[in-house]
Each structure stands twice: as structure tokens, then as C-alpha cells.
């Protein structure tokens, strides 16, 4: 068992994490007036979200950590199944629950 952690230590940790996170999120807004006029910002606004979603899918599924495709086969099947459900039925709830259900069934060896 780890030694108990002091509340002051956790409180300071929370403050540090809050300030760093908020600072990073707020930074672009402080330069809004100078950045907003630039056509590059419109370019980023249109194109970065899709790219970021792709990166987040790879990050959240931990596909990038795999040495071999067999390590992430269930993740890849789950991703493909969720994508197909969303493309065909256009229903968030169905896609989300369908994808999670298939993944849970696969990783627990239920089929």
C-alpha cells in the first residue's frame, strides 16, 4: 500500500493541472484579433478538426502502440463496425452502443 497522500499536495496538483490546461486552451483567444484576420486561420478552421479526429481515434484506440496487427484486431474491428453503423444508420446512439457492444464481446471472448 502506498503511503497516504497529503490533501495539500493533491490540492496543489489540481491547481497546477487546472492552470496549465486552462492556459493552453485559452492561449489562442488572447491573440484573437491579430489571428482572426489571417487567411491561414480560416484554412486551419476548415481542415484541422477532421485531422484531429483521426489522430484522436488512433490515440484512444492505442493502435499506435501495437507491434503486430493481432494486438489491435479487436480495436480495428470495433472501429470499422462503428464507422459502418454511423455511415449506414446515421444514429449516434446505435453506432456508439453497437461499437462498444461488439468490442466488449470480442475482448471478453464471448464469441
Amino acid at each position: 500500500m502506498n503511503p497516504p497522500v497529503s490533501l495539500w499536495y493533491i490540492a496543489l496538483m489540481i491547481v497546477v493541472m487546472m492552470l496549465v490546461t486552462w492556459g493552453l486552451r485559452a492561449l489562442p483567444f488572447f491573440f484573437k484579433d491579430s489571428l482572426n484576420e489571417h487567411p491561414f486561420i480560416a484554412f486551419i478552421q476548415n481542415r484541422f478538426p477532421l485531422i484531429m479526429m483521426l489522430i484522436l481515434v488512433v490515440y484512444a484506440s492505442e493502435v499506435y502502440k501495437a507491434q503486430h496487427v493481432s494486438e489491435v484486431q479487436f480495436s480495428l474491428i470495433g472501429i470499422g463496425f462503428t464507422a459502418v453503423l454511423q455511415l449506414v444508420f446515421k444514429n449516434y446512439l446505435l453506432s456508439l452502443f453497437g461499437g462498444i457492444a461488439l468490442y466488449v464481446v470480442l475482448v471478453n471472448g464471448l464469441i
Binding site: 500500500m1 502506498n2 503511503p3 497516504p4 497522500v5 499536495y9 493533491i10 496543489l12 496538483m13 489540481i14 497546477v16 493541472m17 487546472m18 496549465v20 490546461t21 486552462w22 493552453l24 486552451r25 485559452a26 489562442p28 483567444f29 484573437k32 489571428l35 487567411p39 491561414f40 484554412f43 486551419i44 478552421q45 481542415r47 484541422f48 478538426p49 477532421l50 485531422i51 484531429m52 479526429m53 483521426l54 489522430i55 484522436l56 481515434v57 488512433v58 490515440y59 484512444a60 484506440s61 499506435y64 480495436s75 470495433g78 472501429i79 462503428t82 464507422a83 454511423q86 449516434y92 446512439l93 453506432s95 452502443f97 461499437g99 462498444i100 468490442y103 466488449v104 475482448v107 471478453n108
Partner: protein, 227 residues
């Protein structure tokens, strides 16, 4: 807008945050930390990946400098998020500060992907998403000792991002964007897999800047040649 409509808009995040928040709350309390600590984290930090990292930091008594660096690295991608959200910023300072506080991956995804997200309801979307995250954390923290975790439930976050990616592709189906994303992921996996998120985001931005530069050069009117 009616609350029910707002709930419908934020439903994908609700479905992602509740199980993920439960996992976070459960994980932190199962490390011997008091039940209310993860809830305070979720109220004041509101950063999924960084909070999961915080479990390890607390348990290992990491220094505050280590905490600051780790949080900076893992959340560095959030610098780019604000660039796409200028139109959504509220006008008063308190609302502005809270809006900026709430720009998580999922809120950013929702605001930039959903046609129903508008500058009028953006702050409510942020607040609702935040409340889901806190609720999920509280549920996980309080039920930590009585409910065994379901193996595979962590896929909820991946599924959420897949759905939002599909919506992005449908609204802006440019193969070049997908290509840049794939290249950034491959390069980050090869170069710095331990800092995948930060590296991939930075490489993607760099590639976009190069693309912007060359596109601007191509579109520049050709100067008239001297007679």
C-alpha cells in the same frame, strides 16, 4: 433552445463521458485515494487524458514540476483547438473563461462537427458536457468498491471519436486532410510514440502550414513579364 434539444446535441458526449468518468473515478479511488478527490479533479481540471495520468502522478508522489510538464505535454494539442472556435466565444469575461476551460477534445469535436451547435448554445454545451464528466466521475468514485469494471468499456471513447470523424468526413470529404492525418499518425508512431498526441498534432499542423504555403503560392497571380 429547449433543454431536451441540448441534451440530444450532447448525447454522444454524454454516452462517452459517463462510462469514461466512471472509469476515472473508479480507478483513482481503487488506488486508495478518497472518493471526493477524483470529483474535485473533474470539476476543476476537466481533462480526460491528463486526469488519467494524474492517477499515476498522485500514487507516485510526482513533483509539481513533473505534474506541470506532463499536463503541458498531454494537453498541448488544445492550443490548436481555440483557432477553430472564435465564433463560439461568449462576450462576458466569466463566461469566456469558463468556455475556454471547457474546450476538451469532445466538446471541440462536437462544436466543430454538429450543425446544431451555435454561438448561442455553445456555453450550455460546454456546461452540459462538464456536468456529464463530473457525474460519471462521481458515480465511479462512489461505486468503486461495489461494481467490478467491465473489460472493454474503455472503447467508448474510441467509438465516440470514430462517429465524430465520420461526421467530419461527410461534411468535408477532402482526401488530402485524411492523408495529412494518416501521415501525422505514422510519423508520430515512428518518432515519439510516448508523446503520440502532441507529436501527431504538431506534425499535422506543420503539414497544414506547408500545404497552405504551397496552395497560396500556386494561387498567387503570375507577375507580368517585362517586355
Amino acid at each position: 433552445m429547449k433543454p431536451t434539444s441540448l441534451f440530444t446535441i450532447t448525447l454522444p458526449v454524454f454516452l462517452g463521458y459517463i462510462p469514461l468518468g466512471i472509469t476515472f473515478g473508479f480507478l483513482m479511488v481503487s488506488q486508495g485515494i478518497a472518493w471526493y478527490i477524483p470529483i474535485i479533479f473533474s470539476v476543476f481540471v476537466f481533462a480526460g487524458a491528463a486526469q488519467f495520468l494524474a492517477v499515476g502522478l498522485v500514487v507516485n508522489h510526482a513533483s509539481l514540476m513533473d505534474t506541470a510538464i506532463a499536463t503541458f505535454l498531454i494537453n498541448l494539442r488544445h492550443i490548436f483547438f481555440g483557432l477553430s472556435l472564435y465564433d463560439f466565444v461568449p462576450h462576458t469575461w466569466a463566461k469566456k473563461a469558463y468556455f475556454m476551460f471547457g474546450i476538451t477534445d469532445e466538446t471541440y469535436s462536437l462544436l466543430t462537427s454538429s450543425k446544431d451547435a451555435t454561438p448561442k448554445n455553445a456555453l450550455s454545451i460546454v456546461a452540459l458536457n462538464h456536468s456529464y464528466w463530473v457525474m460519471g466521475t462521481a458515480m465511479g468514485a462512489l461505486l468503486a468498491t461495489s461494481i467490478p469494471p467491465i473489460k472493454g468499456i474503455e472503447f467508448s471513447l474510441t467509438a465516440l471519436f470514430v462517429i465524430l470523424l465520420i461526421e467530419q468526413i461527410k461534411s468535408n470529404p477532402a482526401l488530402k486532410n485524411i492523408g495529412i492525418g494518416v501521415m501525422a499518425c505514422l510519423a508520430a508512431t515512428w518518432l515519439l510514440p510516448n508523446y503520440f498526441l502532441v507529436t501527431a498534432s504538431a506534425i499535422a499542423l506543420l503539414l497544414l502550414m506547408l500545404d497552405y504555403y504551397f496552395t497560396a503560392r500556386q494561387n498567387r497571380p503570375i507577375a507580368q513579364e517585362a517586355p
